[in-house]
């Protein structure tokens, strides 16, 4: 603070320019801002631009011939069409299923809502390709259902149909949570008013309820679409000849060492992702009639009787399918050679905890490092963006948005290309993996933090500064503790995602630092399904345990 008092000579009249003053008032905070912004530019924006540059520039400068050559090959357009088709189909089905679950859970007398809710959330906390593994086990060439039950010898599980099933189930929770939040925040009085005006249940549903949740339905569709475009593990495992952009980019890069084609395909992924993301952010979310506060208003359940029966059957069908898949994976993890020798064994776990222990501990260590960094950086960025308008804030805002909307594949390829030469020679290090995890998951913390900050009375922070605390001190002693719920949301999300991520890190793992998700993928590819299932079970268990611990910490520290 000595610096500041020197910068304000007494006896001088007039005031210094506002933006300069913002900086001189708290040089430390501005330093943090500059550091964070620079990091986001280097680790989020630069890699993406590097990939886009690589797609069009070769050794000969801007290489139109090479670009035209790549674009004339059928695999480019095929994978683009495949990606869009898969994304659109999964988005529609997952949203419909999510709506079904959300509506039944909030508006009807369906029994066992807690059970449905719990099961519906399972896919969120596990790596998405657990589903793919289960499908291979159940319906594959030597599948438990196809061969054991039905006796089919040449079942083809690979392709579009399986991908749709898997992605729909895996992304239903996103739609479910989104739509459920909005259904809960609609004032029941609106539906009561419709009923009191003489409208039938169907009229009330179609003319009042449905229009009010339309924004949530649209936003779910777009989010699932983005998720599907980004998905790498499922198409890789079960796509067969049905290649998506993410898979094609990976095989061009890793299989054919065709950097330019890989970069081009990854850049193409950016188009649907960014379009859907921007529509979601700047169009759909502004058309909301209700503000989703996350605070459920009292709901009166008024749909009962015969209508509930088909809804209940459908909900339980979805829930049991999800549950069956998970139980299958757990069962197989204890089975000697699924489909061939079904004797129970602990051999796979033994493998995981001996030969495969390093990959598990690597994953836990790197995710453990990335998680607090992600969460605290998220809160700090939210604070800087909402409370302090430093000159250059837009760089930070757009940089983090870009890193969130961009698919993991482009980030992964970008990291490999950007950080493979001095002065930023980072390939092969743990640092680069952690950086990818942090950058990819930052935005959720920023959003949660920003929303919470807007609920916190600004004068609480003013009270701290007026009492003599600097802005930096105010952030760490007042703001951060008040952001605790958002911090925990961000911690949970960052940990789950860092541990289960695949699309970006698959380009970054090295002999020294390999990750559990990449190991599972290679185990499935070599048909060591039992070991893969054991890894998946452990992963789900670890995530559940950590989430439970965090929940416990949150509730036990907020009691006073």
């Amino acid at each position: 603070m000595t610096l500041v008092s020197q910068a304000t000579p007494s006896g001088r009249t007039g005031a210094s320019p506002a933006f300069l003053r913002k900086i001189t008032v708290d040089p430390w905070l501005f330093g943090l801002f500059a550091l964070v912004t620079l990091s986001v530019l280097v680790f989020a924006v630069l890699p993406i631009f590097t990939v886009m540059k690589q797609a069009v520039v070769t050794d000969h400068g801007f290489d139109f011939a090479a670009l035209a050559d790549t674009l004339s090959q059928s695999f480019v357009w095929e994978s683009l069409v495949n990606t869009l088709l898969l994304g659109a189909t999964s988005a529609v089905i997952a949203t419909a299923a999510g709506f079904l679950l959300a509506f039944s859970a909030t508006r009807t007398t369906m029994p066992g809502k807690t059970f449905i809710h719990g099961v519906a959330l399972l896919p969120i906390i596990s790596p998405p390709f657990v589903m793919a593994l289960a499908v291979v086990i159940l319906f594959g060439r030597s599948g438990l259902v196809t061969r054991e039950l039905l006796g089919i010898r040449n079942a083809n599980v690979y392709g579009f149909h399986s991908l749709v099933l898997i992605q729909s189930l895996a992304f239903t929770p996103i739609a479910y949570l989104n739509i459920r939040g909005m259904l809960q925040s609609i004032d029941s009085a609106l539906e009561d008013a419709s009923a009191s005006l003489g409208a039938s249940r169907w009229t009330t549903f179609s003319r009042v309820t449905l229009p009010l949740v339309t924004p949530a339905i649209l936003s779910s569709t777009l989010l699932v679409f983005v998720k599907s475009v980004e998905d790498f593990g499922n198409p890789m495992l079960i796509g067969g000849n049905f290649n998506t952009l993410a898979v094609e980019a990976y095989s061009q890069m890793v299989g054919y060492f065709n950097l330019q084609a890989g970069a081009l395909l990854a850049s193409l992924m950016l188009v649907p992702s960014m379009t859907a993301f921007l529509i979601h952010r700047y169009w759909v979310s502004k058309r909301s009639y209700v503000t989703v506060t996350g605070k459920p208003t009292a709901q009166t359940i008024r749909i009962s009787g015969a209508v509930v029966i088909p809804l209940t059957i459908l909900c339980y069908a979805v829930a049991f399918t999800i549950l069956t898949f998970y139980l299958t994976v757990i069962y197989v993890s204890f089975t000697k050679l699924p489909g061939v020798d079904n004797t129970l064994t602990l051999a796979h776990y033994k493998t995981v905890f001996t030969a495969g222990f390093e990959t598990l501990s690597n994953s836990l260590l790197l995710a453990g490092v990335a998680t607090p960094v992600t969460a605290i950086a998220g809160m700090l960025i939210a604070y800087l963006l909402v409370r302090k308008a430093f000159p250059g804030s837009f760089l930070l805002r757009w940089g983090t948005l870009l890193s969130f909307a961009a698919p993991g594949t482009i980030l992964g390829i970008g990291y490999v290309s950007t950080f493979n030469a001095p002065p930023m020679l980072l390939t092969g290090t743990a640092f680069i993996v952690v950086a990818a995890m942090v950058v990819k998951n930052l935005q959720v913390g920023i959003e949660a933090g920003s929303n919470q900050l807007r609920q916190i009375d600004k004068s609480i922070e003013e009270a701290s500064t007026v009492l003599g605390a600097s802005n930096t001190r105010t952030f760490f002693e007042i703001t951060l503790p008040l952001l605790k719920p958002a911090l925990f949301t961000s911690l949970s999300y960052a940990f789950t995602r860092s541990l289960t991520t695949l699309s970006a890190v698959i380009f970054l793992v090295s002999a020294n630092w390999t990750l559990i998700t990449v190991t599972i993928l290679s185990q499935v590819e070599t048909l060591k399904l039992g070991v893969a299932a054991a890894y998946c079970s452990i992963l789900v268990f670890v995530v559940l345990a950590i989430l439970a611990v965090m929940q416990f910490l949150l509730t036990s520290t907020s009691k006073r």
């Binding site: 304000t8 009249t13 007039g14 001189t24 009270a463 007026v466 605390a469 008040l482």
Partner: protein, 365 residues
């Protein structure tokens, strides 16, 4: 030692509108006194207070505290205390931790810090709640924590930003008197912002009425109420009838003003010069008008509002509106709309508004 001086303070907010929130404001707060900024919302009173705290930087002019220019000194180096409208207590800290927060930043010896906190908690009758969360206190207790936290660091200036507006009416009066008592005891230079004129009069050494970013009048509560400088001040400080009249005769001491065909006021000229025929405006407070069968003024009742302790009448006085309160309705009965009442006015507190430039400007705006 901690006299506050605003010199030529102007605050323009950036933006297309370029609104001037405060316009060339000059104000001195004498050591140890409490000055209230009073005015409607948007008059610039809160901006003025926030400039003294350091949350806003003046576009022009200087602010000094105890002779030190603080115009460019950041908030946390100004050594001011502030009580916020929402109290702004730290919800994740106990009452004691809230009060300790500012003292910890002073780097005092531990024993002295503990002493200070204990003594202020005692003074504010908060000792028994020290380990509670502020959310589990009543509104009045939260208010006291906010005040304790603001004064425990022994600031040079204490700022109040509408501190009582979150309390219900009865508690508000009690807390108002408590705040004033503590301010007097500590002898701390204070700036208080409110839009409630009765609160301003009850608590202040000086009341400064603001409007559209400029000071309309600053004086003792008694003078601002009984000798308002402008019609705006007269009407903002409680209920007022502003009756137009014409000067009939004027000498050095007494002015005779005709209000209606049947009534004149003989008023003190208060050192001012009036000439016969001059149009003037007289401030007549409702409480100085009484219903009297022999009254010289005939007023036609247009609206009757029963208020329990009194009846409020809106009447027509030969084309001029006149409001007054009848506290003796239980003896004379409540009049009805259309009825004519005879009124008498105690002319001693009637005040002739100075026809100054500021008022003309105010009317234009």
């Amino acid at each position: 030692m901690s006299k506050v001086i605003f010199s030529n303070i102007t605050k323009r907010f950036p933006g297309i509108t370029g609104a001037t929130a405060v316009d060339r404001l000059n104000l001195t707060i004498e050591e140890g006194t409490l000055v209230t900024l009073l005015g409607p919302s948007g008059c610039g009173k809160t901006t003025t207070l926030r400039m003294l705290a350091g949350f806003e930087t003046p576009s022009d002019g200087t602010i000094t505290i105890g002779g030190r220019d603080v115009t460019n000194v950041p908030v946390n180096a100004r050594n001011v205390g502030m009580v916020f409208q929402s109290y702004a207590l730290f919800p994740h800290m106990s009452v004691r931790e809230n009060v300790e927060y500012g003292v910890r930043l002073l780097n005092l010896p531990r024993a002295e810090m503990k002493d200070r906190v204990a003594s202020i908690l005692d003074t504010m009758a908060l000792a028994q709640y020290a380990d509670r969360s502020p959310s589990r206190l009543s509104g009045g207790q939260q208010q006291r924590v906010a005040l304790a936290r603001a004064v425990v660091t022994q600031p040079k200036v204490l700022l109040f930003d509408e501190p009582l507006s979150n309390l219900d009416a009865q508690l508000r009066e009690r807390m108002r008197d408590e705040l004033r008592a503590i301010q007097l005891r500590l002898g701390i230079t204070s700036l208080y912002v409110t839009h409630d004129q009765s609160e301003a009069m009850a608590i202040s050494d000086r009341v400064v009425v603001m409007r559209n970013g400029v000071i309309e009048q600053g004086d003792t509560p008694l003078n601002v109420y009984s000798r308002p400088g402008t019609g705006f001040v007269a009407e903002f400080m409680g209920k007022a009838n502003i009756l137009r009249g014409k000067v009939e005769t004027a000498d050095a001491a007494v002015v005779r003003v005709r209000i209606t065909s049947t009534m004149t006021f003989d008023l003190s000229s208060d050192g001012r010069v009036f000439r016969p025929g001059q149009e003037v405006r007289c401030v007549v407070r409702p409480e100085h008008i009484r219903v009297e069968p022999e009254g010289t003024m005939a007023a036609k009742v247009r609206r009757v509002v029963f208020q329990g302790a009194y009846v409020e009448y809106l009447t027509d006085l030969e084309g001029q509106e006149c409001v007054f309160l009848d506290t003796e309705y239980y003896r004379t009965g409540v009049a009805e709309v259309g009825q004519t009442l005879r009124l008498s006015v105690d002319s001693r507190p009637v005040w002739i508004l100075p026809e100054n430039e500021a008022d003309a400007m105010g009317k234009a705006a």
